[in-house]
């Protein structure tokens, strides 16, 4: 269950925790260098995106969970409900970015290499080809009005593949299992592509880690 991975800090990090006995989320290390996804995604973007944006989601999630815990121990249901948007936004931000870093890889380390196995078969059955899926996903990314993500997901009930978009940092939950996510927030591309977001959507396929998507697909079986 890949999502659980974000809920497990390294031993080294755990020792840095303060007196609080409550669990604290931490920023996961990137499995590659900041510059390793160039030219598709610049090192500067990756650095800010990981060390600033993702870090902020992690820190704010920890804050929100702490407040939530106080509301729980105070039996304050109103307080819990009013904290929901904060938990959803920062929790979603942490989940989404964690999945995103994993489903990217440098060219030469698997990035852009086409999917194989069961996922490849399912893509071909559903979309005709990987190229057709990319087109479909790029169209969904281009259609996002504001901030958000596009995901290739597997419907747990039917086993079918689907492309969905989620606004802001809403994570993929419920009957859908996220296989592959693409961040369409402006911070994900603006320093390099500015308003030419279609160029970002087309370039990112060069660094998509289909192995990660396949592993998620298999685990969702």
């Amino acid at each position: 269950m890949s999502l659980l991975r974000i809920a497990r800090p390294t031993i080294a990090r755990r020792s840095l925790l303060t007196s609080s006995i409550r669990y604290k989320h931490t920023l996961p290390d990137l499995p590659y260098d900041y510059a390793a996804l160039e030219p598709a995604i610049s090192g500067k973007i990756m650095e800010l995106h990981h060390s600033k944006h993702h870090q902020t989601y992690v820190s704010s999630l920890n804050d929100a969970e702490e407040k939530y815990a106080s509301a729980v121990s105070a039996n304050d249901v109103q307080g819990q409900i009013s904290l929901q948007p904060l938990l959803k936004f920062h929790g979603g931000g942490h989940i989404n970015h964690t999945l995103f870093w994993q489903n990217l890889a440098p060219k030469g380390s698997g990035g852009g290499e086409p999917p194989s196995g069961g996922l490849a078969g399912a893509i071909n059955n559903t979309y005709g080809s990987v190229e057709d899926l990319k087109k479909k996903m790029n169209a969904s990314l281009a259609g996002i009005q504001g901030s958000g993500w596009s995901w290739l997901v597997k419907d747990k009930d039917t086993g079918a593949l689907q492309v969905i978009t989620m606004p802001n940092q809403d994570p993929v939950v419920g009957k859908y299992v996220p296989l592959l996510g693409i961040d369409a927030w402006e911070h994900a591309y603006y320093l390099q592509y500015q308003n030419r977001k279609a160029e970002y959507f087309s370039a990112i396929w060069d660094v998509i880690n289909w192995k990660a998507a396949e592993a998620r697909y298999k685990a969702a079986a």
């Binding site: 800010l48 009005q145 504001g146 901030s147 958000g148 320093l191 500015q194 308003n195």
Partner: protein
């Protein structure tokens, strides 16, 4: 075609006139690319809507609503935004240019400083893309601070006094993830003359 085509309004100042608070590069891309795209897409959606109307196609009209709201909102919001900014060294950028509005702000928020803090808190709480607005409720005459998401415009009983674009494209090339600094800087370039006019209803309806 009979219906009016929307066009990109010219900026009332140079692209670099808002520096150092908003860089000339941001202003240029924001105005000539982003705003232009909203205008183009609004024109396309409007033309399709006229066609659907002529063809008595209600489903098509309803299907176009979101495109009109998003791109129409984008055109409205950016048009309001450019007009409620002014170079820092002009008299328009001084709060003294809005005596009546400042009176109402002080009455509601205690002080100009108190208002700025409140406004900033609301804007930084926005989760995703959107806008922060100082608005006046036309029925109660009350001031309020609201956010609209994505390109939703301020509509209904609320009249926009001034807006601040909180999309990342509005600040990212200069401020990166530090949106608080962008909001802090914006106070130097608010066009209080425009704000006073909107507050007093002097400016009439927005002409697009």
């Amino acid at each position: 075609m009979a219906q009016a085509k929307f066009t990109l309004p010219a900026l009332p100042y140079a692209y670099d006139a808002l520096e150092p608070y908003i860089s000339g590069q941001i202003m240029q891309i924001h105005h000539s690319k982003h705003h232009q795209t909203y205008v183009n897409n609004l024109n396309a959606a409007t033309a399709n809507h006229v066609k659907a109307l002529q063809e008595n196609d209600v489903r098509a009209q309803i299907n176009l609503q979101q495109a009109i709201k998003f791109n129409g909102g984008g055109h409205i919001n950016h048009s309001l935004f450019w007009a409620n900014l002014a170079p820092a060294n002009t008299s328009q950028a001084k709060p003294e240019s809005a005596p009546k509005l400042m009176e109402a702000i002080t009455a509601k928020y205690g002080s100009y400083g108190g208002f700025k803090n409140e406004f900033k808190g609301v804007l930084l709480g926005l989760q995703g893309s959107g806008w922060g607005w100082l608005v006046k409720n036309k029925k109660t005459e009350q001031l309020d601070i609201v956010i609209t998401k994505d390109q939703d415009p301020v509509v209904g009983d609320l009249a926009p006094i001034f807006g601040v674009d909180m999309w990342e494209h509005a600040y990212y090339l200069q401020y990166f993830n530090d949106k608080a600094s962008y909001v802090n800087g914006i106070w130097n370039i608010i066009n209080w003359d425009t704000a006073e006019g909107r507050f007093l209803g002097r400016s009439g309806a927005l002409k697009l």
